[in-house]
């Protein structure tokens, strides 16, 4: 995996996060308590003199790991930001897209409408998935959250034109350029707190964090951030290979994103 220049990545992300706050009237960020969205919060504090000046949304299906809930409470207190928890339904007998593919966007729609958010910061990265690699830094969604991927707006020269219909919103993707290993190098450099589930216990660790239904731990002896960086330098295993949703068929991510999934 390629390690990029962290300063370049950091400056671009700070620029985009500031744009999200200053271009739109009412922005929020999604937080899953995972490494990427937590790194996004660390970058937000850099952008705004130590503050997180917008609410942070957790779409909670109630079956995240206990460590994840603990981490949410601890960090929100430590960094002093507002968390909006919106409950989403689950389908007890199913996994993957049949379970959260529809329910998470529904819960998100509800909270976006209730608070009137016109922009949403989402911490996706290009290297996670071929479909996410096709995204813009700012990407419009219409009222029903549809991503019109066949007709994305032009984006150049820091002009994030990002049209959306009046009732839609803009997805802002400040971490699009980052690779998985860059996230971990940044976590190390900035001492960003992370969810303990990422570290190996009994020979297994989570590389990508979802809920208890759909995420399985992968074989690993990486017990700390340094170990993880070392592991990622040579691994040939895909980051999301512990996520059941990604295995259903190759277009499930395209279909879900088109319908408003994160």
């Amino acid at each position: 995996m390629i390690s990029q220049d962290l300063k370049t990545l950091e400056e671009r992300s700070i620029y985009i996060i500031r744009e999200a706050k200053l271009k739109f009237k009412n922005v929020a960020a999604l937080w899953s308590m995972g490494k990427d969205s937590t790194t996004m919060l660390a970058l937000t504090r850099k952008a705004f003199l130590g503050k997180i000046p917008f609410p942070v949304i957790h779409i909670d299906n109630g079956i995240d790991y206990p460590e994840t809930y603990e981490f949410r409470e601890e960090l929100a207190k430590k960094w002093n930001f507002k968390v909006i928890v919106e409950k989403s339904k689950i389908m007890p007998d199913s996994v993957g897209s049949a379970c959260c593919g529809k329910n998470k966007p529904e819960a998100l729609k509800k909270v976006m409408k209730e608070y009137g958010f016109d922009a949403l910061i989402v911490s996706i990265r290009r290297d996670e998935h071929g479909i996410r690699a096709k995204e813009r830094y700012m990407s419009p969604r219409n009222q029903s959250f549809k991503w019109d991927y066949k007709n994305q707006p032009a984006e150049l020269w820091d002009d994030y034109s990002s049209k959306s219909d009046a009732k839609g919103h803009i997805r802002v993707h400040p971490l699009l350029d980052w690779n998985e290993i860059d996230i971990w190098r940044y976590i190390k450099q900035e001492k960003v707190p992370v969810n303990p589930l990422y570290f190996s216990r009994n020979g297994f660790r989570f590389r990508s964090l979802g809920c208890t239904h759909c995420t399985i731990a992968l074989k690993s002896n990486a017990k700390n951030v340094d170990d993880i960086i070392k592991e990622l330098e040579t691994t040939k295993v895909e980051e999301r290979s512990g996520r059941s949703m990604d295995k259903e068929n190759e277009y499930v991510m395209q279909r879900l994103r088109a319908l408003g999934y994160m």
Partner: protein
């Protein structure tokens, strides 16, 4: 590791996605899952393995074997990494091509040597756009050499057919690498091919490296900060795009024309005495400015950019230019009072003429009159102050650069 971005250019079906896909394969840069996905999909279409499917991830892209939107893929080589930017070659997808290519440090043009393919209008149009986007380093891969028996004369014909044009639109002819390749079969991509013994130049990956390792644009001109807005507490935030800002310095805020002294500079939450180009800053000045601070420019109080409402610009036309015109520059939108065509540039020859017709996917020189004055410099001096995006009734209509 520094990542340099390599923007692919070229007519549709001349092999851009295949080339990147195969480079990923040959350098061991693609992940197993992505290769397996491409393999399975190739099988389903009863085709031999198609490396383009590693990049083309949308169902529609694979089904129709065409790239719809831009994407990136990274390859490590020596002490550098390259992010190859794939773009669509179809004319109607030009806005996606521009979006991708606008991030390029180096351009990599593909021209198919295959009979009846060769240099097309779109080949030249992409080169024209790349120059407008400010890319000055170019590699030309003459592709599909396997279909013409790797003949040197065919390669030379393509080269000769492009050299004059390349020079006319402002690339340095002597510095452009021409390389005979087969993107599909892998000739001269990462290893020298036995099929082209007559070719003595570099492999593609070495040529990319040679270009990418050269230094980028210097940002050592006079102080220019583009502001994004004001935070609660009065910090003005923005990015230093050239020069350096220091505490205690006298600065001008434009277009307001207010002069002030810099009291405080914060970079990534830390108070500093000075900040260089490339950094996002939060600054405090000793005056409350009751004016718009989004898309404003902070400069030294001596060396200031001009304030203009009448701007002469080169425009590449991407959409219908109607009555309701506006430009977007540094995060703000400004209405246009008028746009007068002064002449046109033939994007297939690079020649100027006095023709005053606006053609879609063509280029014009025009005088744009804005509703208010903005800080402007020529594109070569300060990129951020010499470029804007044209919108017509909120639709993307063109990219504009300001000449000297």
């Amino acid at each position: 590791m520094m990542v340099k971005t390599i923007a692919l250019l070229g007519h549709k079906d001349h092999g851009k996605s295949t080339l990147i896909g195969n480079m990923l394969m040959l350098t061991g840069s693609a992940t197993k899952v992505r290769i397996k996905e491409a393999e399975e999909y190739s099988k389903r279409l009863h085709k031999a393995f198609e490396p383009a499917f590693i990049l083309d991830s949308f169902a529609e892209e694979r089904l129709n074997e065409m790239t719809i939107d831009t994407t990136r893929a990274e390859i490590k080589h020596k002490d550098l990494a390259f992010a190859f930017i794939d773009v669509p070659g179809h004319e109607e997808l030009i806005k996606n091509m521009i979006s991708g290519a606008s991030y390029g440090d180096v351009a990599l043009l593909l021209v198919s040597a295959k009979k009846d393919e060769g240099i097309r209008d779109q080949t030249k149009r992409h080169l024209f756009i790349a120059r407008m986007l400010g890319i000055d380093k170019l590699i030309v891969a003459v592709n599909k050499m396997d279909t013409v028996g790797y003949k040197e004369t065919t390669f030379n014909d393509v080269k000769a057919g492009l050299l004059k044009y390349i020079e006319r639109i402002g690339f340095e002819k002597g510095k452009v690498h021409f390389i005979p390749v087969s993107a599909y079969k892998g000739d001269n991509l990462v290893k020298r091919s036995k099929n082209t013994k007559w070719y003595r130049g570099m492999t593609l990956i070495d040529a990319v490296y040679e270009n990418a390792k050269q230094e980028g644009r210097k940002q050592d001109g006079p102080l220019r900060i583009i502001t994004q807005g004001v935070l609660e507490g009065g910090h003005v935030v923005g990015r230093v795009v050239s020069g350096e800002i220091r505490v205690g310095e006298r600065v001008s805020v434009l277009p307001a024309g207010v002069e002030a002294t810099v009291k405080e500079i914060t970079v990534k939450g830390k108070r500093v005495k000075k900040a260089d180009a490339g950094l996002n800053v939060a600054i405090k000045i000793d005056k409350n400015i009751a004016t718009e601070l989004r898309g404003a420019v902070i400069s030294g109080n001596k060396n200031k950019p001009k304030l203009l409402s009448k701007i002469k610009a080169k425009i590449f036309v991407t959409g219908k230019i109607g009555n309701n015109l506006s430009v977007k520059v540094n995060g703000i939108e400004i209405k246009c009072k008028s746009l007068k065509v002064l002449g046109s540039i033939d994007v297939t020859t690079g020649e100027r003429s006095s023709k005053k017709r606006i053609e879609l996917l063509g280029a014009i020189e025009a005088e744009v009159v804005l509703e208010k004055k903005i800080p402007v410099e020529d594109y070569e001096t300060t990129r951020e102050l010499g470029r804007f995006v044209l919108y017509s009734s909120r639709e993307f209509a063109g990219i504009c650069t300001v000449g000297k």
